[in-house]
């Protein structure tokens, strides 16, 4: 079983995703503090210090975490199964037999498109496993391969059932 890593463009995509969330959180925090202080409520200095520390943590998070996530992200597809390994603190390994796949979908969000990336959503009867941050051509190639493989399995099963 040979695991594959992602293209380095994935780091940029992960980082931009992370930055967007950080900005949303920061704007929410600043707005909340602004609303509270505009109501003549004195905010303790400790709150400002905490917010400052959180801001620094977020910046470090945006710089470092995508690199760790990129290094941890691996996937493997062979004739029998597909495996995805991902995570930061908690590493999750998801595995499903190819034979259980019901549906394959290639999806590209706005941020993915900026980096020329996409994701393959593999649906089984029990849920979805997603291979993220794949280059467009690779995503299409994986989806096609999986579709062909499933078609062959369905044909084989039909022959066996009729036979």
């Amino acid at each position: 079983m040979e695991y594959k890593s992602l293209n380095k463009k994935a780091i940029g995509c992960m980082r931009l995703n992370s930055i967007i969330w950080s900005v949303i959180l920061a704007v929410s925090g600043v707005t909340t503090v602004g609303i509270i202080s505009s109501n003549k409520v004195k905010i303790p200095t400790a709150v400002y210090i905490t917010l400052g520390i959180l801001a620094v943590v977020m910046v470090v998070y945006d710089i470092v975490v995508p690199i760790i996530r990129y290094k941890r992200y691996r996937y493997c597809i062979d004739d029998e199964m597909f495996v995805v390994v991902e995570g930061l603190w908690f590493i999750t390994k998801s595995i499903a037999p190819i034979e259980r796949i019901h549906q394959i979908e290639v999806s590209r969000g706005p941020i993915d498109r900026m980096f020329g990336l996409g994701k393959v959503l593999i649906t089984t009867a029990g849920g979805v496993v997603t291979i993220k941050f794949l280059e467009n051509e690779l995503a299409e190639e994986i989806a096609d391969k999986l579709k062909n493989r499933i078609n062959n399995i369905v044909k084989d099963q039909g022959v066996n059932n009729n036979g």
Binding site: M81, I91, S94, I95, A96, P97, E99, R100, T124, G126
Partner: protein, 488 residues
Amino acid sequence: MDKGIRCHFSSIIANTLKAVWFLIVLVAVNLSDEIVKIHQEGFNPSSTLIVIGIALGIIIVVALFNFFRWRKTYIYIKDDSLILDCDFAINKRKTTVKLSSISTVNFQQGILEKIFNTYRLQIDINSFATAEKTDFNLVFSHSVAEELKKELTKDFSPCDQTQDNAEIRTVHETKPIFEFTTNRVIKHGLLSISVGGVLFSVIMLAFTLVSQFTDVFGTEESKIKGNPITTIIAVLLVVGPVIVQSVSPFIRYQNFKIGKLGDRIVVSYGLITNRQYNVPLSKTNAVVIKQPFLARLCHLYYGELINVGMGDEQDHQSPIFCLLVNKQELDFILNEINPNFVISDIGERSPKSAFIPMCIPYLLFGTIAVVVASILNYWWIGVIVLACLLLCAISSYKTKALNILDDRAVITTGVFMRRTIIVPFGKIQIVNSKNGPLSRHFGISKGSATILASLVNMSNNIGYFPKDRFEKLFEKTLEFDSVATLNK
């Protein structure tokens, strides 16, 4: 059955009553303040007449809508598909379902159906998208319901069919496996009560009564304090769910019988609403054995069948196949249903090293509770919460078990209530394993196995076990073919 048929006309009454009930609830919830005001100020005859007039008008409109929809709706089978064709201008729709995708066809008879001597035909489709609900609820007279059921199930796989391909018979004509007396039903109701729910209700009841009659929580300024109506409402809101939970099984599971007809399990029960489940074993994905806390202390078990696309709409649970029984009785029933589901051993327990990572989330929430309670000057409440959470952690650790057999996995989870799922490897769709820094240090992982089931049973969590157990689970899941398992 090429010519379309309509549902029984009593469905118009049922749908209208349902809409009226919905309206009553809507009015009661949204206009409760106005109702209290009217009650206090007295009734105004003219405004009362207007309200009654509006209510009658709404009921007539709803009844007419249901009548025309019923008149324009036909159900028929064409080219191996079940078609529900509604040509009513306001609500035009045509639903086509392949007969091969139908998972189960069951009967239900409620009060209204009993009055009109009709049956509610519940059709479930083999689909993840609609696994949470019954796909079709159609009301017919008994003979029409039987005939339609026969047509709908004729394409079931050969092993689903009765051996003589005879008309689907009732539970009384099947090979009986087990019958539950009223005493057993009462026992089931009493021992199935959620201890957590009872404890929560007792705490909330104490809190409600103390806040109503004392100043411990500083409610002396409250307008509702000491008001008998608000006290009664608050007590009912707190105690009501426990009372309903305790009483409903007595009514729901009266005359509980389980039988077998060919490859089908036939389960029937009900005092007011008669239910009859007809579950093809080939479309059963797993069996779940449950032990609520009190039943666990008495070494009693009950079971549910996880069937593709089939769920109990009211209970949000899979069809139950037996009430609380002891281990010997459970083994006997499972042996009659399918010997593959008999388990002699729930397998290995979580290793000792699993206790620490398992405790961390409970400790985290407990600590937050202590900090918050201390800030509010009720530190003792925080300590009680922390102690309860630690108790949960210990119970959760002691409950987890895993047994990887030759052709199936036995996964046990729960905190106070023990839930064991027996699932053939061919039915497992995805296996996940997960480990954090601490569990990596101890060489253990936790995870889940997902199967095709309603949301409640889809993802089956596996506690912390050595990593190689998950590797074995991965291998076994790949080894078994889902189609081969289905046709077994």
